[in-house]
Symmetry: C3
């Protein structure tokens, strides 16, 4: 009997030790799961889309803003990066003072504002675009200028590419007020967190 | 001795209480892990790619369908959204009846079907494209029309942009049968679940 | 009293059984969490971006390489796929020997190397581009050729599209040495693992 009791005590001790070991192992595994889950959550795409607007064509820029405002209205964060010809969309005037000859030429030859863009096709010296705009009005579709204002109201982040501004000699005062300027790092920081990125 | 026993019992009680506490804590942490993992799984990109086809250039549309059919053949879900000039690819005929003057003009000036598209470069009034097509035949590369049929066979989702159809005055009967129509929300629903999104 | 003891033993046994059951359940749930977490980690986008370079326009290709080198400098993996007109960027010479008439024509009519590309707008028979390049030099911005060399130094993966090479009759010896060739599967393998994919 005393023998039996001893065995039981040993068994009980062993069982308890095993139990604590299993519990301890589980706690470690759960801790690792939690840390790796935090990493996954940090690296997951955010509810955000990013759009590079390089084109200066009315139709392509229109598509960019239809998507941007649609996404913002659905509750997505939206980042737009305007580079090269896309900068023309954000211009509100032309400044020639203090620019070199080349910069003056660029200034005069590139559009200042959304309504000066032209169609990528069937533009016919502006006739195609005028017809398109009339058709849009008749169908109660917002114009490009309205969509840009709408995008700003919806909190769409709009960044003008600093390098393009330098190359094309565009001064900050020529652009709509309150825009950010930034570089490729600004774009990539948002794009790598986005669910979708478009180059337009 | 009775004192010693009492301590042991207290200790045992305390140990048991701590054990249950640790078990209970673990269960709560595992439950939270499971819930957050379900969220992660829900938010992960699906094995899907989305393509906006805005271009009406034969070469760019060809690239879109090479990627779309390649992806579908690899087992990916594929969604294609046709907008503006891209709608020409899906047209199978031209209707003029019941259209206004402007819509008639758009109808006549935009391509009706894949084989009426032209190259973005070196088109030379169609000569460049004819040479490209001959070269593709000689290399046993599928033509654009074949790739479109192939994409439909593979279950590629093809959505025609309703707003573009309205603006350009394109009637559903002018498009290939069995296509969906949709808007920016349709596109974004698929794009935000995709592993890659292209704007072509 | 003996009755009381019996109840306690039964309770103790039941408690122990429940305890082991809870522990066993937890171990199973943690095992499942670990397996599903491994799947999530495997399917997460990598710190990588993918770029299709279909355009042969100096400005668009410049944008592609500004983004590619910027991303590589930030520590992202970068994959670039050159197709159609984009192949001109990677050419270092023209070979006519052993080509058919059509392939000879393509060879002569498409640019051989970055500095032979032209602007998508305001090219003015090369004048616009010359002015742009001068402006870039004045601002100490790397030229396209420099950016391409920089991208290769930074380990950017550059793949020439085999099908486009076949169609356009471009021989591997005409391209920069040490480039990979590949198809749509090569592109999709990288794109579906990328945080952002651009079609330029």
């Amino acid at each position: 009997m005393s023998n039996h009791v001893t065995v039981t005590e040993q068994e009980a001790l062993q069982e308890t030790t095993e139990l604590y070991q299993r519990l301890h192992d589980l706690e470690n595994r759960v801790l690792e799961l939690e840390q790796r889950q935090k990493n996954l959550e940090r690296d997951m795409p955010e509810p955000r889309i990013s759009i590079v607007v390089m084109s200066g064509d009315y139709d392509r820029v229109l598509a960019a803003f239809v998507i941007a405002t649609g996404a913002a209205a659905m509750g997505l964060q939206v980042s737009m990066f305007f580079t090269f010809w896309g900068l023309g969309v954000l211009r509100q005037n032309r400044r020639l003072r203090g620019k070199g000859l080349l910069e003056k030429a660029f200034t005069l030859l590139t559009p200042a504002g959304a309504e000066e863009l032209s169609l990528s096709r069937l533009n016919f010296a502006g006739l195609g675009l005028r017809l398109l705009k009339r058709q849009m009005r008749q169908r109660n579709i917002s114009s490009l200028s309205e969509l840009i204002a709408f995008a700003r109201d919806l909190g769409v982040r709009m960044v003008a590419c600093q390098m393009s501004m330098d190359v094309m000699g565009i001064k900050p005062e020529e652009l709509q007020p309150g825009l950010e300027t930034g570089g490729v790092a600004t774009f990539l920081a948002d794009a790598t967190k986005s669910k979708a990125t478009l180059f337009i």
